[in-house]
């Protein structure tokens, strides 16, 4: 049996029946990583020793499914979530040797559920990018075509899950960074409602947008991880006062979508590739065949979403990244005096995209421009929020393609930041409004590249997302649980 092909739930079942041991699972995955990751570059750190040790310890936990729902299940973590004692780089030279003195809440909850942290996954530097080409440690290669990007910024997480290097992983999503790479790599990616999962220990990019979420090969695994990482955390003041969200029964029982009202903002999809539109139209047919009512709506504010995002996210980033000063942690390039040390450390420690966004955000927040850029963007953000509210008054969900194109070639867009930014056009609205969204695979292009679409739902209605996602998965099972042959 190829253990690397199994998802978290399947592994859990085998472990519980003692058909395999956690040690066998971890060894099989470490072997798979050794064989394949040289060509993918998904891992920045493989914690071989730690994973073997955790596997030995999880032996004793595997029968207690209630307390330890992930006992013996290996998980990969995007390198933007801090891990106690395990190097965490955020894909940056700035943090190349940073060893965190604590765990992010999402990581802590995985560990408490018995999961085995097998390593840290590559990403665009500080989660800024849509292609993973902005990593200081080299690009990640899409396992479906090594010449192409896996998407970003959670590109390492997506590629690792798609290639069977890990059954499941965590990513983070600020403007599509879970969903777009999930779509490019043919897997499932959930961005929960803002506030649903604690951001404590998530290295901050844009604090009003960032969310942590699962990346998996099937819907049930996403629900399993989501239940473990969700729920109130006093360490994050934006964390919603809600218990962990259990949607496993919803996933289990979902069959028909009878009575579900789904909205499509067709006018906003005009920029998508023909192949993406074609696969998306098939999704609509499938959902109709399951009983859903799919109707057209207008969400005209969506055409401003990229412009809003590329003011708000860089503004928040320019403030958040002020902490990298060469004093408390991270890189330090000694200058003539303290201020010169700041300049040199930051000038050399940050990569091109990060500098570009710090510059953009600093500009948008600077005296004389605040009203014209930052405040204006926040007002247009209200329009986007209202478009969602209006549509959700009459509909249960909105669907759109996840990305206007399948995975593009490494190097194709990196010289033109604006073209790269426009890639996020379908994912950004959910972040700006805070609503949950899940990207699912919906087939392949003629070249064999995965295509994805997303469900978006009202705030805190992940159960509706999961019900629809599970029904779609049951109808189109051939797109799920796939491991790329490389």
């Amino acid at each position: 049996m190829d253990l690397y092909r199994l998802g978290a739930w399947q592994l859990r079942e085998l472990l519980k029946k003692r058909e395999v041991s956690p040690l066998e699972v971890v060894k099989a995955l470490l072997q798979r990583i050794k064989e394949k990751d040289g060509r993918i570059n998904a891992f920045l750190t493989v914690d071989e020793e730690g994973a073997l040790e955790q596997a030995r310890r999880s032996e004793a936990l595997i029968q207690d499914v209630e307390q330890y729902p992930l006992a013996g299940v290996p998980v990969g973590i995007k390198d933007v979530l801090v891990t106690w004692g395990l190097r965490t780089t955020a894909g940056s030279r700035m943090l190349e040797n940073f060893v965190p003195p604590y765990d992010a809440t999402a990581v802590k909850r995985l560990k408490e559920a018995g999961a085995i942290i097998i390593g840290k996954l590559n990403m665009d530097e500080f989660a800024m990018g849509s292609s993973n080409e902005n990593s200081a440690f080299g690009p990640v290669h899409n396992p479906y075509d090594l010449q192409r990007v896996p998407g970003g910024s959670s590109g390492g997480s997506a590629a690792a899950v798609a290639a069977g290097l890990v059954p499941v992983a965590l990513g983070s999503d600020t403007g599509g960074s879970i969903r777009q790479p999930a779509a490019f790599c043919g897997i499932v990616g959930l961005k929960p409602t803002y506030g649903r999962v604690s951001r404590f220990g998530l290295i901050a990019f844009a604090s009003s947008l960032d969310q942590v979420g699962p990346m998996t090969r099937n819907v049930r695994d996403a629900a399993l991880l989501y239940r473990v990482i969700s729920g109130h955390d006093p360490a994050d003041s934006t964390s919603a006062q809600l218990p962990p969200h259990d949607v496993l029964d919803v996933v289990e029982n979902s069959q028909s979508l009878k009575g579900l009202k789904i909205a499509v903002p067709w006018k906003e999809l005009e920029g998508a590739d023909e192949i993406v539109k074609d696969r998306f139209e098939r999704v609509v047919e499938t959902l109709r065949s399951l009983g859903a009512e799919v109707g057209e709506v207008e969400m005209p504010s969506f055409r401003y979403a990229v412009a809003v995002y590329y003011i708000i996210a860089p503004s928040e980033a320019s403030s958040n990244l002020a902490r990298y000063d060469g004093v408390k942690y991270g890189l330090r390039i000694e200058g003539e005096d303290l201020v010169d040390t700041y300049f040199k450390t930051r000038g050399r420690g940050f990569g091109r995209e990060v500098k570009r966004r710090i510059m953009l955000g600093t500009y948008a927040l600077s005296a004389g421009y605040y009203d014209a850029y930052y405040l204006k963007a926040q007002r247009v953000r209200t329009l986007i929020k209202q478009d969602f509210e209006n549509v959700f008054a009459e509909h249960d969900l909105v669907i759109m393609p996840t990305s206007p194109t399948p995975a593009f070639k490494i190097g194709e867009k990196i010289q033109d930041p604006l073209t790269m930014y426009l890639n996020d056009i379908f994912t950004i609205p959910a972040n700006l409004a805070g609503v949950p969204a899940i990207s699912l695979p919906c087939g392949f292009s003629p070249e064999g590249l995965p295509v994805g679409f997303q469900f978006m739902g009202p705030l805190f209605k992940e159960d509706v997302l999961f019900a629809a996602a599970a029904a779609y998965e049951k109808a189109r099972g051939e797109y799920f649980n796939r491991v790329a042959e490389i």
Partner: protein
């Protein structure tokens, strides 16, 4: 396209404490100009009379009980410091 001057780019870089190489300055001037030119469409959205949405949950900052818990400790705080001495961060001399 919005034209930024070299001086404007340098001013922003000073505010952001970023040392830039000469060739970076010209590239950033061009790229930031293109992005800001694109962003200008926000003016057509007709949102000038709307309240801004700074955060989507729009709830007051929650208060918690002031109960002491386990702190990180000086060792944890200093563990990653590039330079440290006697329990302090070390920086270049600020006052002569």
């Amino acid at each position: 396209m919005k034209e930024l001057s070299r001086e404007e780019v340098l001013k922003i870089a000073r505010l952001a404490r970023l040392e830039l190489e000469d060739k970076e300055i010209e590239t950033l001037r061009r790229e930031l100009g293109a992005i800001l030119g694109y962003v200008a469409r926000l003016g057509e959205a007709g949102a000038d009379n709307l309240d801004p949405t700074f955060q989507t949950l729009a709830k007051p900052t929650p208060m918690r009980e002031d109960e002491p818990d386990e702190p990180l400790g000086a060792d944890g705080v200093l563990a990653n410091a590039p330079r440290k001495k006697d329990g302090f961060f070390v920086v270049p001399k600020v006052i002569e």
